[in-house]
């Protein structure tokens, strides 16, 4: 299977190099996938226009075939109840961050069909629900992550901003970790980057995520100061020492909890 995956990756890379201008009509923040690889999909990933006339990308992608390292693939604000997208509506994604900072909103299905959405907005993002309601209406089956760049102490970091479906705010964040190897993650190492402070280890309990090879844990950040935290999920030092790739979490408390 690995060999097949490698050969397919080689084929894809050849296709990518052979089709340099294939995805030129999409903004830079969108997935750099050649149009040739989207052929045959019922609603291929493509450039779209949001109600506020901003450009974003939405549609279906092929199933991922690479073997990524153990990493956090989704950071959402914790929301109770079922959140379903219904057609012919305007949906909104919100987050709590500096309102002038543009955030790259990235949605990916956990399971087939592989719905994908990429947008770059400040404050919140609104879009029509026709596609998402058709292909992946359940918010729980979607990996959502907000990313923006920030310069802290002369270094550039990619900050992760927890996203929320709809209005409101919660300071409990739901993290989803994807790993191909079985893990026994039981600790979250939270290292304050801004403001700098002593690191802290928080015991966490992971439950099965929305698809196989995913695990989910929720961490309350209510008592944490606004700032940037380096968050790593890991096994205890008594164990082998597997960890996720660290993320730099942008935590900011907003009203309306």
């Amino acid at each position: 299977m690995m060999r097949l995956a490698n050969h397919t990756m080689i084929f894809i890379s050849i296709c990518c190099s052979a089709l340099p201008g294939a995805a030129q009509d999409r903004p830079a923040f969108c997935e750099p996938v050649p149009d040739a690889l989207l052929g045959g999909l019922q609603a291929p990933y493509a450039r779209q226009v949001a109600p506020d006339n901003n450009i974003y990308c939405e549609g279906l992608l092929r199933n991922p075939i690479a073997l990524p390292p153990t990493s956090v693939v989704s950071v959402k604000q914790d929301q109770a109840g079922n959140c379903l997208f219904v057609p012919n509506r305007i949906a909104s994604l919100t987050w709590c961050d500096d309102p002038q900072e543009p955030v790259h909103v990235r949605l990916r299905s956990f399971k087939s069909p592989m719905f994908a959405l990429d947008a770059m907005h400040t404050h919140k993002f609104e879009w029509r629900t026709d596609l998402i309601a058709q292909w992946q209406p359940d918010w729980r089956n979607i990996a959502a992550i907000g990313i923006r760049e920030a310069n802290i102490g002369g270094q550039t970091y990619k900050l992760v901003v927890p996203l929320r479906n709809g209005a409101g705010y919660s300071s409990s964040y739901a993290f989803v970790v994807r790993s191909k190897i079985p893990l026994h993650l039981n600790t979250a190492l939270i290292e304050p980057l801004q403001p700098p402070n002593q690191p802290e280890a928080v015991a966490v309990t992971f439950v099965s995520g929305p698809s196989k090879e995913t695990w989910m844990a929720t961490i309350p950040f209510a008592r944490m100061k606004n700032g940037v935290y380096r968050v790593t999920f890991e096994e205890g030092v008594e164990q082998a020492g597997n960890t996720t790739e660290p993320i730099y979490l942008r935590h900011k408390v907003c009203g309306g909890q």
Partner: protein
């Protein structure tokens, strides 16, 4: 006296044959005359004597021609044997079992993007890791100059731990290499005051990345006693010329660096010097069992198809490489005037068909002797 004309003229028959026949006929006539009581005439005797002299003259001429043929045949045979003895095979299968202090490998494009020194994805526990040549370090504060050192955490006395079963070693979680661009990896022995480890240098047009986990204490004062929890802080270093010095926590244990990795080039040299400590080269198409490699031997091996590093291990401060080259085009060992170990055609034939070779040579010698004998008898 004139020579009587043969009964049947045959242009294809040689003069000695014609003379032999004539002489035989004369002798038969003479024998018949003797049986009848007729004494042989002087003319008959002279005729037979002349025929005999002529036959001797023609035979001497024929012997010269035969010798030329024989010499030609021997020369052709000698040339064939010299060719077989000197012309080397275009390629051969080679197995190497080498102990060295450093080996440089050029990886083929058919490779995995992930390397983990250790067995089957096992995370490697290190006493110390030294990193240099990193273009990017996360967190940046760990190594702003691109060089840093991670050490196994040593708890200070008086600290109370949770259970006491913590492993304080630095974890090497993964080394990621670019899978779609040329990459050279040098693996050598790293030296420290009290231990030996592994040097791992990756050079390519795209960056390689190493992921470590460093144990850090999370202290807390409880009832005037310091209770410490530990966590693993990830450190990632990436660079196009990334150099790692890894000192395993358990230096007695064998460390497998690679297993079943395809490479296009192998070099056992460092700064112009051979890094070989010893070993054996098995050349499949040669008769010899193996060729021993001496310390400082320069070993040159090139292959028309990718070579397979079956395993590369660090054992007690020595690197051991087991390598197979199914189509090696060059294999040389030695110092100033290296010895070419590529098998000759003769060695190859002797290796592939030893019984048939000796049987054929014996048959050829027997055939030649029989031919000579037949030739001589026919005169």
């Amino acid at each position: 006296m004139s020579i009587t004309k043969p009964a049947k003229s045959d242009p294809e028959r040689t003069p000695p044959e014609l003379l032999s026949e004539e002489m035989a006929r004369k002798l038969t006539d003479l024998a018949a005359a003797l049986r009848k009581g007729v004494a042989p005439s002087v003319e008959d005797l002279e005729t037979i004597e002349r025929l005999s002299k002529l036959k001797t003259l023609f035979s001497a001429h024929d012997n010269g021609r035969r010798k030329k043929i024989e010499i030609g045949f021997l020369c052709a045979t000698a040339l064939l044997l010299i060719g077989l003895a000197f012309v080397r095979m275009p390629s051969t299968a080679v197995d190497l079992d080498v102990r060295a202090t450093k080996v440089r490998l050029a990886l083929t494009n058919q490779r995995s993007a992930s390397l983990i020194p250790g067995e089957l994805g096992e995370i490697l526990a290190l006493k110390q890791a030294r990193v240099s040549g990193a273009d990017e370090v996360d967190p940046p504060t760990v190594g702003e100059s691109g060089s840093f050192e991670l050490n196994q955490f040593v708890p200070s006395s008086g600290t109370t731990t949770h259970g006491g079963s913590e492993d304080m070693a630095v974890r090497l979680q993964e080394i990621s290499i670019p899978s779609d661009s040329p990459l050279t990896i040098a693996v050598g022995v790293a030296y420290a005051a009290d231990s030996r480890g592994l040097v791992f240098e990756a050079s390519g047009s795209k960056p390689s990345t190493a992921r470590f986990g460093e144990v850090i204490p999370l202290g807390k004062e409880v009832h005037n006693e310091k209770t410490v929890r530990y966590a693993i802080s990830p450190v990632r270093a990436g660079g196009k010329n990334l150099s790692l010095e890894l000192f395993p926590a358990n230096s007695e244990r064998q460390l497998t660096v690679f297993r079943d990795m395809h490479v296009s080039e192998v070099c056992f040299e460092d700064a112009g010097h051979s890094t070989i400590l010893g070993g054996l080269a098995f050349i499949k198409s040669r008769g010899e069992a193996s060729v021993p490699l001496q310390p400082s031997d320069r070993l040159t091996i090139r292959s028309a198809s990718p070579m397979l590093v079956r395993k590369l291990t660090l054992t007690k401060g020595e690197l051991k490489a087991t390598l197979s080259a199914p189509r090696a085009t060059t294999i040389q060992v030695g110092e100033d005037s290296p010895r070419n170990l590529m098998p000759t055609l003769f060695e190859w034939i002797r290796f592939r068909w030893p019984n048939q070779l000796y049987a054929t040579l014996s048959a050829l010698v027997a055939l030649w002797l029989a031919t000579r004998r037949w030739w001589e008898s026919s005169k």
